[in-house]
Every structure is written in C-alpha cells, then in structure tokens.
C-alpha cells in the first residue's frame, strides 16, 4: 500500500514563531525550509514501533485506594487519514498533567503537588477502527513561567506514528468550554478557527456503567491518503 502526502493548508497549522512564547524565536529556523519531492524514504516509516517500545495501558486513573485525585474522564479517540480511513495498528503516546496541573517530569517546578497515584502517561495501539480509549482524570491548568500570566488550559499531549515518516504527528487536545482556551498562545498559534476547534474534544453522553466518568470524544487526522499502486 502506498501513501500519498500532499502539502497542508498552512492556516490549519501553527505559526512557528509565537508572540509571547519566548523560546520560539531562538529555536525555529531562520532560513527558509527546503521543499523536496517525497521519495520512498519519506513515504515509508516504522510500522512496528510497538515491538520497540513498552506499551502502557490506557487506564491511567487507577482504582480504589490507588485512584488518582481529580475528575474521572473517559476519552474515546479515533485516528483517521485524510480520506477518513481509520489508521489501525499504530502506536499512540499520550501524557498530561495531574488534576492540580503538575507533570511527573522532574523539570516541572513546585507550583502544584504531585499525585503519588498518577504517572500521567499511556502508550497504546489503535484498534482496526483507528480507535483507542483512555480512562484518566481531567488535567489541571498550569502557569507557564513567562512572568506575564500565561496559563496553559487543561490539555492532553498526543504523539502518533501513522503509516509513513511524513504522517508522524505531535499534537495537543483541549477541553470544551474552558475560559483559558481563548487566551492560550499554543492553541491560538493556529490561524484557522475551524482548525483550532478541531483540537477541542467533544463532551458526549456517558456510556457504560458505572456512570462515574465524564465522556469525551476526539478525532486525530494524520497526513496522507492511501493510494493504489499505479501499474506500469
């Protein structure tokens, strides 16, 4: 199976240099990016990452005495390609802050407490319908150390591989109705409002029993379209 990769609409992707995000002007290239025609090297990619990394299950909220503090949520995420075809069997990595807005990472400072029952990361494989599900707690907002009052809204990080090198995606998912969404410099670096809206999960009626978790659905679209090989 071959994959066709087309250029993206730039308005649907974030600016590289973001006002008020002081690291961005130091780290993003000054020289124009070089256009290249994709070859086999970019139109192939690792399909067996799951054999190379340790998978961590999608239930990261814990149970009973080991349950993490916070609002329990169920996240149902579907991974598709640009034609809407499910991308099954691909590795997805997620990580997030705890309910107080603190990451497990040693570089995160002491503005909020760690939760001994919350590691805050999962790594799983999409099913044949491109679906994966997570049981976690809603992440808290947290301040960015910029001195001017920028707070990140609650969000979840995703890293997805897809079928080819150029379909690799690192993105973030947001929650609906959060007042901080309108001011977030990372979310609002995407110029197109509709593209920003697609980064926000949808609250859906809870399914399953017990009804102990809020349910959200989200969609991640990877670059690429499946292409039937041309007979020569």
């Amino acid at each position: 199976m071959q994959t066709l990769i087309e250029p993206r609409d730039e308005r649907t992707q974030p600016a590289r240099i973001v006002p008020g995000y002081p690291q961005t002007p130091l780290r993003n290239p000054r020289e124009p990016l070089v256009r290249r025609r994709p070859t086999l090297s970019e139109l192939t990619g690792p399909l067996e990452v799951a054999r190379r990394v340790k998978l961590l299950g999608g239930d990261i909220a814990g149970r009973g005495k080991k349950q993490a503090i916070g609002q329990l949520i169920h996240l149902r995420v579907r991974v598709l390609d640009e034609d809407g075809t499910p991308v099954g069997g691909t590795v997805v990595e997620m990580w997030q802050a705890n309910a107080a807005g603190r990451y497990i990472h040693p570089n995160d400072d002491d503005h909020a407490p760690p939760d001994p029952n919350f590691y805050g990361a999962a790594r799983l494989v999409t099913d044949e319908n491109g679906l994966f599900e997570l049981r976690t707690v809603k992440p808290g907002a947290y301040p960015v150390p910029t001195r001017d009052g920028w707070w990140r809204p609650p969000h979840v990080h995703f890293s997805v591989f897809g079928k080819v090198w150029l379909s690799r995606l690192v993105t973030q998912m947001y929650f609906p109705g959060e007042p901080l969404n309108a001011q977030d410099r990372i979310l609002n670096a995407v110029p197109d409002p509709a593209a920003r809206e697609r980064l926000v999960a949808q609250l859906v009626p809870p399914s399953g029993k017990p009804h102990d978790a809020l349910a959200y659905e989200h969609r991640i679209v990877l670059r690429g379209r499946a292409q039937t090989p041309v007979q020569r």
């Binding site: 199976m1 071959q2 993206r8 649907t12 992707q13 974030p14 600016a15 590289r16 002007p25 130091l26 780290r27 993003n28 290239p29 000054r30 020289e31 124009p32 990016l33 070089v34 256009r35 290249r36 025609r37 994709p38 070859t39 086999l40 090297s41 970019e42 139109l43 990619g45 690792p46 399909l47 067996e48 190379r52 990394v53 340790k54 640009e82 034609d83 990595e93 990580w95 990451y103 497990i104 990472h105 570089n107 805050g120 990361a121 890293s159 080819v164 090198w165 150029l166 690799r168 995606l169 690192v170 993105t171 973030q172 990372i186 670096a189 593209a195 697609r198 980064l199 679209v221 990877l222």
Partner: protein
C-alpha cells in the same frame, strides 16, 4: 479532511518516554542487524549557541542493503529481519545525543542517508532533516542550496563513528525540509 494541527512536544513528556535501548538500532527483537555498526553523536543547539537539554530525536532509515522495512518498498520482502530502521534518543543537559545504528545502503535512486526528526519545547512543528555520509548526488540533497549541502554531511571520526551536529537557528543553521 485536513490533518490535525501540530503542537509542541513541550518540556514535560514523561521520563520513561525514551525506553532503554531505543537509541540502539543494531538489535531488533532477538536479532542483530546485518551490516556495519556505527555510532552517531552530535549536539543540538539553538540560536545563542546553547545546547538543548531534554530534546527528542527520532530517526528512520533503510537497512544495510538500502531496503526500508515497509510494504511500499518493492524490495521489502528482503528487508533485514534484524533491523526496524527506527529509533529515538533524548539529549543530555549539554545538548548531546548518541545513536547506534548500521550504515544504511543506498535506497533506489538515493544516496545513503538517515532521516532525522527534532521534537522539542518551543518547536510548534516537528523539524525534519536528513543526514548524509558523503556530499554525493541525491534527489533530496540537490534540493538544498549548494552552499548549505555540506551541513547535512556527517563528519567521520574514526572507522565507525560519525558526528552530526544540529543547529536549529543561527550560524551554520541545519537545513530543514518543508514537506
């Protein structure tokens, strides 16, 4: 459908994100890759020259015969079963990284090369570049202005060691690709 917008990896991806051994491509499962094992070291720096800590690099490459382990490669049935071609590493406090892999063969129509991806706090989009072993004719390298091509050629440092420094911005800025 439009592809989902990218976002920065951020500084707080989990500590166990880079599994032990993920930077060693010379083994896959219980097998050992065929070909010449090499070590690639380098330093990743930003505009002011500071080395960048906790930065993620991923690579993708063909095996020693120049075959990609992927069905789109017409030769994939003969791919080395001991070689996945993918690995990941994270920089240390000074911005240094190390990868162990095998020297790739030439894929059809291309010079031997290794694809690199840079993911980092403050990078709103993944940066993609390509490392070469020689400044020979190559379809992707020839898209780079001639004066900058040398920046994509790793420096040989001993029989099986190469150095590939990555400058995200500034003097000797690494060429990155817009795909």
């Amino acid at each position: 459908m439009n592809p989902t917008a990218e976002a920065t990896l951020g500084p707080f991806f989990p500590p166990r994100y880079v599994d032990a051994g993920a930077n060693d491509l010379t083994r896959f499962g219980r097998r050992r890759a065929k070909g010449e094992a090499i070590e690639i070291r380098g330093r990743v720096r930003q505009e002011d020259g500071a080395g960048l800590d906790n930065l993620m690099l991923e690579i993708w490459q063909a095996d020693a015969q120049g075959i990609f382990r992927h069905p789109a490669d017409p030769r994939s049935a003969r791919a080395d079963p001991g070689f996945l071609g993918w690995g990941r590493t994270v920089t240390d406090a000074r911005g240094n990284y190390v990868l162990r892999t095998i020297r790739p063969g030439a894929p059809e129509g291309r010079a031997p090369h290794i694809n690199f991806m840079v993911m980092y706090s403050g990078l709103m989009r993944i940066l993609k570049t390509t490392m070469y072993f020689t400044n020979d004719v190559d379809a992707v390298l020839s898209a780079v202005p001639a004066s900058r091509r040398g920046l994509l050629v790793a420096r040989k440092q001993g029989s099986d060691r190469y150095r590939f420094d990555i400058r995200l911005r500034g003097e000797n800025e690494t060429p990155f690709f817009d795909d």
